[in-house]
Symmetry: C2
Subunit: 180 residues, 2 copies
């Protein structure tokens, strides 16, 4: 899914500026299943304007630059809803963490343990974040999406806690070692 569709999807629920869309996509209630950055959001918004899917309203502010508040149009609403009927692609999961884990037996034991500690910590923070989001949300579909994120997060935390010793035990010591 491209950033244009993402912007349209967010604007479907509420008016927003590019800055706010970035926040929603990187910290807010879309953040656990979507990626976006300024460099892609602003051009996407411009394109959406050109195509008549959104409108802008400029709000002057004292001291700060004017904010450009985008709102979806009927045409944009219809385009989004129509697009929903294309079978969604498979979820994408990429994990450098798991990649590193593959070579755990070659890592310094302390480093491995610290990495696992940090990972659990980060996942717990994320879980907490999602939990707070879900408490401040009364839209059932959004709750579902947040709940899904929480479920995966919890599963990851529990899995690491229950299985980390299998990595830390390092059953057979390998001879190949990196010099450090």
């Amino acid at each position: 899914m491209n950033i244009r569709t993402l912007c349209l999807g967010i604007l479907f629920f509420e008016e927003a500026t590019g800055y706010e869309i970035n926040k929603l996509a990187s910290e807010g209630r879309f953040s656990h299943f979507i990626e976006a950055s300024y460099g892609s959001i602003y051009p996407a918004l411009t394109k959406l304007m050109d195509d008549g899917y959104v409108t802008v309203r400029e709000e002057r502010q004292v001291g700060k630059p004017a904010r450009k508040v985008y709102a979806i149009t009927e045409k944009g609403r219809k385009a989004l809803l129509d697009g929903l009927y294309d079978e969604p692609g498979a979820d994408i999961f990429k994990s450098e963490f798991l990649f590193v884990c593959l070579y755990s037996e070659f890592l310094e034991p302390n480093y491995l343990s610290e990495m696992l500690d940090r990972r659990v910590e980060v996942l717990e923070e994320k879980f907490q974040m999602l939990h707070e989001l879900s408490e401040r949300c009364d839209h059932p579909a959004s709750q579902f999406a947040i709940g899904y994120g929480k479920a995966l997060n919890r599963a990851a935390i529990e899995f690491i806690k229950e299985n980390r010793e299998k990595l830390e035990a390092r059953h057979e010591r390998k001879t190949v070692q990196a010099a450090h």
Copy 2:
């Protein structure tokens, strides 16, 4: 993590051709947390050669094109292991499925139910695939990675089964509808 590192990581465990690396990354025991395609693998292998991280051996075959079997060098081994000490970036999860779910109340009820059915099916197939992989694997670290994938998969399946009715019930019927 780029494709070069991925190729190096696979070659760390075993010699392989570009074709085989593609299989491992798209169906094999790396497939649930890594993405790669021919268009990126072959050039990555060439680059790895240029940098002295791998060597090639050409195996002529009757009827089929010669296969180029790549093998990691000491330099490559060291480079991979050294790279492991860079803190792994956060896991990336992208889901068009969850995005579509956000607008479930605007979808035709039948379509929504079918989409959820299909999604559970796909996830169950994936789980089965991972399960079979883990049975044919005796490397503890790989087992950990596969187990992690299975845990997340199971969590997703259970969450959908337990919560789909909340989407399908459509608490408040919205008036905005796409024409179909």
